[in-house]
């Protein structure tokens, strides 16, 4: 770099800056800047040409003003002029201004590109460097378009200076980051790889960065770099620390280059060539050996540089995952770091160990450090380190140590930091489930979990307990007993009440023999928690009560009393009130048999992937499970959120209402005519009555859809309403392949004026027929109109399901469908002041 001559000091700039620094207030500063700007404008405007020095000085001032936060809207031209100067300092300021101030859509970009092109072609290394820096600093698409093909040429040209090569490599890296599509891949890539052999370590470092990025894009093009990188790495590692002179940092040979080379190697699988492979292994061993040597300096920089290389080497070892001895050595090395007094080192060691634990070679080795990790969990001051310790414990867990780890995590949970509690809870739940040999232990663990950190136990966790208890007959009794005992604690968490309610409701009978847990005692215990719970839990408890009525007829009266109480029947919450009303009604009218059917024990859940695991995955990327350790632990029954549990917990009110309405209807219907249930059963191929009813009810809120469907015919509706008039388009679809004959429709209605347009008597197979119904509402009504349809399908109907061939063959079909014309279809909003409204409202009351 040319030395700055004395004349380049730019006194004017120094004076200006010191003036600004001395300003007492913002206003004074603004005034000074305005004055300076006016001065520069008049100078730039002046007819006589400015010499390079003053141009540089004024551009510098503008730059300073811009950096103070003021807008600059002139001077760009002067800056571009500076680019063509032959003096280094002038060119430098010009490039500085341009990389800071010129935005990509300026009209000057062509001039700038031209100047850069000239400099690149100038063969003067300092100018070339300036130009390359400018391209990298701006890094815009236009720049990339203009120079992306030029720079690789400079990079691999034989006669380019080292410093320029270095800049070119970094510039290309930058362009590749901002607009990767514009960097062409070509024959230069092969030559770039050979830069790894360059004499100049700076060039090698820059090239390694570039190759690492490019190799991620197209690994095949840079495969040859592996062998070169290994050679280079071994040369660095084996060199005496003084050999590399400038590139030795606190007695560590070229730490940055080593780290970059190790990173590059992580882009590829272990080399297949055995000699290369052994050489790499040797390198890695040397690095591990060096870590054992006493430090050459007490300075923190020395150990930092050494450890940086070491950690990168370990992650390469983990990435390759092929050399058991190296993996074990790495693990031992990390084990030493676990007790290092440097917190950062402990953190990194724990983090690396987490990945080590998932390797089959080193899993056992990692396990030997369990005591240290548990100790770290307990004594570590930094919460992020503790978090890593939890991750590691989770990763190293297998069947042999699951009990110990789960116990430790549980005991830690009591004092754990709030931010990581939920995650620990999830992990404990997963581990307990995954490695549970004995399900009583599992139930105990989860109940403990709820007791210790109830607030952090998510829905999924307790769903899972219930799924498992229901799916496994052998633990049901134990679960009921444990839950009963747990519930006896004076204060227990709501989640525990939920689990308790569910399990006692299902399996309370298994412990009812014991007089200490007689049905009444069980009920009283649950009910004592009732008032402290939130609405969803109360809803669940009400369901548990109705289950109790089924399980223990002797407490029926007590429970009915509870349901009948005002706090239930007139509860402000709709869900609770509804449940109370329905359950009470159900318990009163249904016979014991019906109750037993309706409130049957929950069926086993289908086995699916654990929902908790999904939740953990969602919550956090890492935390790999050692999947294949010890011949894959058999996954116990698993399923995502239990579908039937919806019924138990809070389902959408409307759906529950419909379901229970139907249930009650069917119940009543069955109980009224028990003698001949078969006669009333609907024909097997006609849609079930409940379906029809459901479809009709669905039309309360919507206007279009399918109203009726059986094997032969589908009826669709499209309707629109305006004031008291309505129009319905009815579509009759023939689902068979042959035609219907004698098709006719009629609409009967008591209160509405319905006018139906006549229809064709024939519907071709697969065709659709449209009919328009015009409806006028003349008075209020409650009965919906009924659509009568009559048609004769031909004798040999070909339906998709040929079973019904004989059924329908040739007989006249009569179908009656209720049309969804309800009073609410004619409702209209009206504007009213609040005064008017209340006046009317009060009149209504009177």
């Amino acid at each position: 770099m040319p030395a700055v001559s004395k004349g380049d000091g730019m006194r004017g700039l120094a004076v200006f800056i010191s003036d600004i620094r001395n300003c007492k207030s913002k206003e004074a500063e603004v005034k000074r800047i305005n004055k300076e700007l006016a001065n520069i404008r008049s100078k730039f405007k002046g007819d006589k040409a400015l010499d390079g020095y003053s141009k540089k000085k004024y551009v510098c001032k503008l730059l300073f003003i811009f950096l103070l936060g003021h807008d600059i809207d002139f001077g760009h031209m002067e800056a571009v002029n500076l680019l063509s100067s032959n003096k280094y300092t002038e060119k430098q300021i010009g490039y500085l201004f341009i990389s800071v101030l010129v935005n990509s859509n300026s009209d000057l970009i062509r001039l700038i590109n031209n100047a850069i092109k000239n400099d690149l072609a100038s063969r003067n290394p300092t100018f070339m460097n300036l130009a390359l820096h400018c391209i990298a600093n701006v890094g815009s698409r236009e720049m990339a378009e203009a120079f992306a093909s030029e720079i690789p040429r400079i990079l691999v040209a034989g006669d380019t200076m080292d410093s320029v090569k270095q800049s070119a490599a970094l510039c290309l890296l930058r362009l590749n980051r901002t607009s990767p599509d514009l960097v062409p891949m070509g024959e230069w890539t092969a030559r770039v790889v050979h830069l790894l052999n360059d004499q100049h370590l700076g060039v090698v470092t820059a090239a390694t960065s570039l190759i690492t990025t490019l190799a991620q894009k197209s690994p095949d093009d840079f495969k040859t770099s592996v062998s070169l990188a290994v050679t280079r790495l071994s040369r660095i590692v084996t060199s005496a620390s003084i050999d590399l002179q400038d590139y030795t940092y606190y007695f560590v040979a070229a730490p940055w280059l080593s780290v970059k080379l190790l990173r590059l190697l992580q882009c590829y699988p272990p080399p297949e060539d055995t000699s290369l492979r052994s050489r790499l292994t040797e390198c890695l061993e040397t690095i591990l050996n060096k870590a054992q040597e006493p430090p050459k300096s007490k300075k923190v920089q020395h150990s930092n540089a050494r450890n940086a290389v070491l950690f990168e080497a370990i992650s390469l070892i983990i990435h390759h995952d092929s050399e058991p001895t190296l993996l074990v050595r790495a693990c031992n090395q990390l084990g030493q770091f676990l007790q290092h007094r440097e917190t950062n080192l402990r953190y990194l060691a724990l983090e690396s160990m987490c990945t080590l634990a998932s390797s089959e070679f080193s899993h056992e080795a990692v396990k030997t450090h369990i005591e240290t990790v548990i100790n770290a969990l307990k004594t570590e001051r930094d919460v992020s380190v503790r978090q890593r310790a939890v991750d590691l414990l989770y990763a190293m867990c297998d069947r042999s140590n699951a009990r110990q780890i789960v116990a430790e995590m549980l005991s830690y949970l009591e004092t754990a930091d709030y931010s990581i509690r939920e995650e620990i809870v999830l992990k404990v739940a997963i581990l307990a489930e995954k490695y549970a040999v004995d399900y009583t232990w599992y139930v105990d663990t989860i109940l403990n979990l709820i007791r210790i950190a109830g607030d952090y136990v998510s829905e999924e966790v307790w769903y899972r307990v219930i799924q498992i208890v229901i799916n496994r007959d052998d633990v049901q009794g134990y679960a009921a007993k444990t839950v009963f005992e747990a519930l006896q604690a004076p204060a227990c968490h709501e989640n525990l009440v939920k689990v308790g309610g569910y399990i006692l409701g299902e399996f309370g009978n298994l412990i009812a023999g014991d007089p200490r847990s007689s049905p009444l005692v069980q009920f009283n215990l649950l009910h004592s928690k009732f008032h402290l719970c939130s609405v969803p839990t109360r809803a669940l408890l009400l369901s548990a009560y109705i289950k109790f009525i089924n399980l223990f007829p002797e407490v029926k009266a007590t429970i009915q009393d509870v349901l009948r109480s005002d706090s239930q029947l007139r509860n402000a919450d709709v869900e609770l009130q509804q449940r109370a009303v329905e359950y009470l009604r159900l318990s009163c009218i249904a016979s014991a048999d019906t109750l037993a059917t309706v409130l049957e024990e929950m069926p086993a859940f289908p086995e699916r992937e654990s929902s908790i695991l999904a939740k953990l995955k969602k919550k956090k990327g890492p935390g790999k499970l050692p999947e294949n350790v010890n011949g894959s632990a058999e996954e116990p029954a698993a399923s995502s959120k239990p579908d039937t549990a919806c019924w138990w917990t809070s389902s959408p009110t409307s759906r529950l209402l419909l379901l229970l309405l139907l249930l009650l209807l069917l119940l009543r219907w069955r109980t009224t005519c028990p003698g001949e249930p078969s006669s009333l059963r609907p024909p097997p191929f006609a849609p079930r009555r409940s379906d029809v009813l459901l479809r009709l009810l669905r039309f309360i809120c919507k206007n279009n859809g399918v109203l009726y469907e059986n094997q032969l015919l589908q009826i669709g509706l499209k309707s629109e309403y305006r004031q008291n008039l309505g129009r319905i388009y009815v579509f009759y679809g023939n689902k068979t392949t042959s035609q219907f004959l004698g098709f006719s429709t009629a609409v009967s209605s008591s209160d509405l004026n319905v006018h139906a347009k006549a229809v064709e008597p024939v519907i071709e197979g697969g065709a659709q027929l449209q009919q328009i119904l015009n409806i006028e509402c003349v008075t209020e009504f409650c009965d919906v109109p009924v659509l009568h349809i009559q048609f004769r399908p031909p004798s040999n109907v070909l339906t998709p399901d040929s079973v019904c061939q004989s059924r329908y063959g040739g007989t006249l079909q009569n179908i009656e469908v209720k049309l969804p014309v309800m009073l609410n279809k004619f409702f209209q909003p009206t504007e009213m002041t609040s005064q008017d409204f209340f006046q009317r409202w009060k009149q209504l009351g009177a």
């Binding site: 007492k24 207030s25 913002k26 005034k31 000074r32 305005n34 004055k35 700007l37 006016a38 001065n39 404008r41 008049s42 730039f44 405007k45 809207d73 002139f74 760009h76 300026s106 009209d107 000057l108």
Partner: protein, 436 residues
């Protein structure tokens, strides 16, 4: 209930810090400095709420005065107090500057103790304060019992702003009507908004406890008299009277009397005080008319011609006339020609400033300027800020006239005729702008 009061210099260093209530901690001092004084964007709102604490500030030259509170106080009250506080400080040591504040900090703390008690504003009348807060050493021992009881009776009594037993050889009274006229005019000469805010400031040197009565050409009073009195001067006085939009009075004015009779009667404080403030918006006499003419010649040149016309009696002289013509931000050179006064391009303010020392009524003068522009790559068009003007005229632009000022002192033997009275009108420009 002001929680505390801080005074900062322009750098944000605390000069005075007085905390009245426990809910204001030391960190409030820093909060204001960081969020207002050193804020990246200039804070324009005088009220700032930081972490549930309200800061009310006023700025005098380079000095920031900030009142702090956590309660929901009447903001107008706080500002009134701050202004009063500025007045008091000015009355004690002149201009409010960092230097003066540092030199008088003991006095300021003493004043703050007196005029704010547990955050409640107390008597802040300068005249009254000066009787017991003095700058001349400790006088405590010299004070007689009588004097002390007098102070007590004054502070607690009905007339807190004047002590008894004042005596002057010459009973004199000065009355200044100070008005500032604000205007925004369109380039075509249409008045977009105009109002006058005025103050009546008095300086009284009267003996005893005189009762004063002040009369002006208030429209309501004149109309009332016109109805009751002779019909012939109703037309004449109707033209002369002015409509006052709103007014506020010094605490010495008897508001009940003003409400019932609309007469302004009071027992004046001793020395200088502001008797009333008022605002008018109708029939304003605009002392100057500015006629701008801006022509853009190409992208690099701008021609500006501005004519000012004075619009008052030829016998009167306007002073300190200054016309400020804004120039575009990319101005690179200016040539000015003016017939009267001096004109100069001030780059630091981005404006041409034209100064005229004196100008009689019904005259006109003009300036023309050629502005050279530097072409920029900025597509923004120049916003053309308005041309503003400053001046001082010896009449009241609102048309207010003092009709009488009567002084009655029944106990002492001087009458209204013995009092020497001086009346002066000064009209100044407030924000007096014409768009161009």
């Amino acid at each position: 209930m002001i929680g505390g009061l801080f005074i900062y210099n322009h750098k944000g260093e605390v000069l005075i810090s007085r905390v009245y209530r426990d809910d204001i901690g030391r960190n409030a001092v820093d909060a204001f400095r960081v969020n207002v004084i050193h804020a990246r964007q200039q804070v324009r709102s005088p009220v700032t709420n930081i972490a549930r604490t309200s800061f009310f500030h006023v700025k005098r030259s380079n000095i920031w005065l900030a009142a702090v509170t956590k309660q929901n106080v009447n903001a107008a009250m706080v500002f009134e107090f701050l202004y009063k506080m500025c007045d008091v400080m000015t009355a004690y040591f002149g201009k409010i500057s960092e230097e003066n504040i540092k030199n008088n900090f003991v006095l300021i703390y003493e004043l703050l103790d007196e005029i704010l008690d547990f955050g409640y504003p107390q008597n802040s009348e300068t005249g009254a304060l000066k009787t017991f807060i003095t700058q001349q050493g400790i006088k405590g021992q010299l004070q007689t019992k009588e004097e002390q009881s007098q102070i007590t009776s004054q502070v607690t009594g009905q007339i807190g702003w004047r002590r008894e037993g004042i005596k002057y050889r010459r009973n004199e009274l000065f009355l200044d009507v100070l008005e500032s006229v604000n205007l925004l005019m369109s380039p075509q000469g249409q008045v977009l908004s105009a109002h006058v805010s005025g103050r009546v400031v008095m300086k009284s040197y009267l003996s005893g406890m005189p009762e004063c009565k002040f009369g002006m050409n208030d429209k309501i009073v004149i109309d009332k008299q016109g109805k009751g009195g002779a019909t012939d001067d109703a037309g004449k006085s109707g033209k002369q009277s002015i409509a006052i939009d709103d007014c506020t009075f010094h605490q010495c004015v008897r508001l009940s009397k003003f409400d019932s009779e609309r007469s302004i009667s009071f027992i004046p404080p001793d020395g200088e005080y502001e008797l009333m403030r008022y605002r008018t918006t109708k029939d304003i006499i605009l002392p100057f008319r500015v006629i701008p003419l801006v022509r853009e010649v190409g992208r690099t040149k701008l021609e500006v011609k501005v004519v000012i016309k004075s619009n008052f009696k030829p016998s009167l002289l306007a002073q300190k006339i200054e016309v400020r013509i804004p120039t575009p931000l990319n101005t690179s050179g200016v040539q000015v020609i003016c017939m009267k006064g001096k004109a100069k391009y001030k780059a630091s303010e981005n404006a041409i400033v034209w100064k005229i020392k004196r100008m009689a009524g019904m005259k006109e003068s003009q300036i023309s300027a050629e502005i050279e522009l530097l072409p920029t790559n900025d597509k923004k068009k120049w916003a053309r800020p308005p041309i503003s003007m400053n001046f001082e005229v010896p009449f009241a632009p609102s048309g207010l006239k003092v009709r009488y000022l009567k002084v009655f002192e029944s106990k002492l033997n001087y009458s209204d005729h013995d009092v020497i009275k001086w009346v002066r009108y000064i009209g100044r420009s407030g924000i007096y702008e014409t768009r161009c």
